[in-house]
Amino acid sequence: MTRYSVVSAAQSDDPATRTRAIEAISAAYWKPLYKYVRMKWNSTPEDAADFTQEFFARLLEKEFIDSYDSSKGRLRTFLRTCADRFFMNQQRDATRQKRAAGYAHLPIDVADAERELATISASETPEDNFDKEWVRSLFALGLQGMRKNCESAGKMVHFHLFERYDLENSDPKPSYADLAKEFGLPPTDVTNYLAFARREFRRCVLDQLREMTASEEEFRREARVLLGVDS
């Protein structure tokens, strides 16, 4: 079975394929990386944003991503290790050359990331936070994909029900009967719609993860971390 992976696409000889793949990787990893830099090196928000942009611009260089070997480790660990090394090199080379030129800037929402950073517990390590943010990022991308699919299938009610029941922090949680009243649906439809939405969400997240991993074995290992089964 042919398996599409952004990791192998990022190692492609075709610059256009490579750019698309790096954009997909950066969409999943920019926020974990930004927060990691802020936490680990106490960088200012501006420096952390510059670093993140430069890091992904550097990732476009073929020899950089080519050094990743999926049989030796996870992409997640590779990127974090590369970020450490890249930061050290930057510190050594004060007159570093800006490499971001020519690369479409990442849509980094610094204010949003900063709001989330303010809520992080002091005992959390940058490495743990990087992994936690990676889960959050993949779930967010999965939700985006699910929303798109629901829109095109005319099933936005399913999406809004899911949003209301599973994403909102309401206390107490609304019952299915409450949701049926709120959305003007029979209670059995609420059960079925939510089951559909959860299936769709699960599929979108796992598709996203499958693309972000280079092999089936890496996918299995990362999925178990994503699901909170393994650490």
């Binding site: 949003d112 709001r115 989330e116 809520t119 936690k132 889960v135 959050r136 779930f139 967010a140 939700l143 985006q144 929303r147 599973d166 994403l167 909102e168 922090n169 079925n192 089951a195 959860r198 299936r199 969400f201 699960r202 997240v205 796992l206 996918f219 299995r220 290992r221 999925a223 178990r224 994503l226 699901l227 909170g228 089964v229 393994d230």
Partner: protein, 325 residues
């Protein structure tokens, strides 16, 4: 879209793992426990209106053969009809492609929780009740391979059940095996993960820890000895924790946990027989007692007769002395 809070991420993680029960007679009530291959959920059987436990494979399993292993576990449980082994009601594949089986929901405590409040004799009797279903399984050619206090449940009516047969395999039958057991083994694979190290350190036999392919039912005898040790001392097996343990009981544990399988009890039943002897103050096969210990044991076993005899001898002595005066 709003950013995902930590609690929303946690909820989504649970959502991802929720079994898709559409098209089945079950409805999720709550999460119960995690096992090596999957998660156990408390569900409602909407037809019979009763609560049962559903063991469902993880959404993404660590290996490709786990679905077959889960069904193998269900088949093993189904073939072992014994009051000490949890009964299976149903098995199959869910709409999301995950294998599952449905079993009786046991409301109770694990052995570790239960044993703390029991006296020595009750603990020994409890172990005898663990050995019975184990012996039953061994005679039918099955080895559990992951016996430990967490896998023993004490039900609401005091019933003792051996749980989690996920690592069980078909092994060689002990010599006392009955003839009908070979028929019950037909069509089953010998071992789904032969050569892999599976089990729990502390309760796993040395040959199992070496991933020896010749592991037989005596690996469970080792675990049974380790469980007895735990029940008597409250700690995982360790020579230092044996302080205060009666020597015959320590000898029973040591024999069950011998490094060489050939030096262990030949069956769980044989170990039970030795424990029964200890409870009735009879000589224990695993322990060679001193003359003094033997006298003490005989006194403990025949206390009334010994007291009467001593009283008689004392009175006779007095009578002889008195008659010579």
């Amino acid at each position: 879209m709003k950013p995902l809070t930590d609690s929303a991420v946690a909820r989504l993680q649970t959502d991802m793992q929720l079994p898709d029960l559409s098209g089945t007679r079950y409805c999720v009530i709550r999460y119960l426990a995690r096992g090596g291959m999957g998660t156990v959920w408390l569900v409602e059987d909407t037809v019979l209106l009763r609560r049962v436990a559903l063991k469902v494979l993880d959404l993404v399993s660590p290996a490709e053969d786990v679905a077959e292993r889960l069904l193998q576990e269900a088949r093993i449980l189904a073939s072992l009809e014994h009051p000490g082994i949890v009964p299976v009601h149903d098995a199959g594949t869910l709409a999301d492609g995950r294998a599952f089986y449905c079993m009786k929901f046991i409301e109770g405590h694990t052995l570790a929780e239960h044993v703390a409040e029991k006296g020595l004799r009750e603990r020994i009797r409890l172990l005898e009740r663990i050995a019975e279903p184990l012996d039953f399984a061994h005679v039918r050619g099955f080895i559990h391979r992951d016996l430990k206090p967490e896998n023993i449940m004490i039900g609401a009516f005091g019933e003792v059940l051996i749980m989690d047969w996920g690592l069980a395999r078909v092994g060689e039958q002990p010599e006392s095996g009955t003839s009908n057991s070979s028929r019950s083994r037909q069509g089953r694979s010998r071992d789904t993960l032969q050569g892999s190290i599976l089990g729990t350190p502390g309760y796993m036999s040395p040959e199992q820890a070496r991933a020896d392919s010749k592991v037989d039912h005596r690996t469970d005898i080792f675990s049974l000895g380790a469980i007895l040790w735990f029940m008597l001392t409250g700690e995982a097996p360790d020579k230092e924790s044996s302080v205060g343990l009666p020597r015959p009981l320590r000898a029973i544990c040591t024999k069950a946990m011998a490094a060489d399988p050939g030096e262990r009890y030949s069956s769980a039943g044989a170990m039970n027989a030795d424990l029964a002897k200890y409870l009735t103050n009879a000589p224990v096969g695993a322990y060679r007692e001193s003359w003094f210990e033997r006298a003490g044991r005989i006194y403990a076993r025949h206390r009334v007769a010994v007291v009467l005899l001593a009283a008689y001898l004392l009175m006779r002595g007095f009578f002889i002395l008195w008659s010579r005066r």
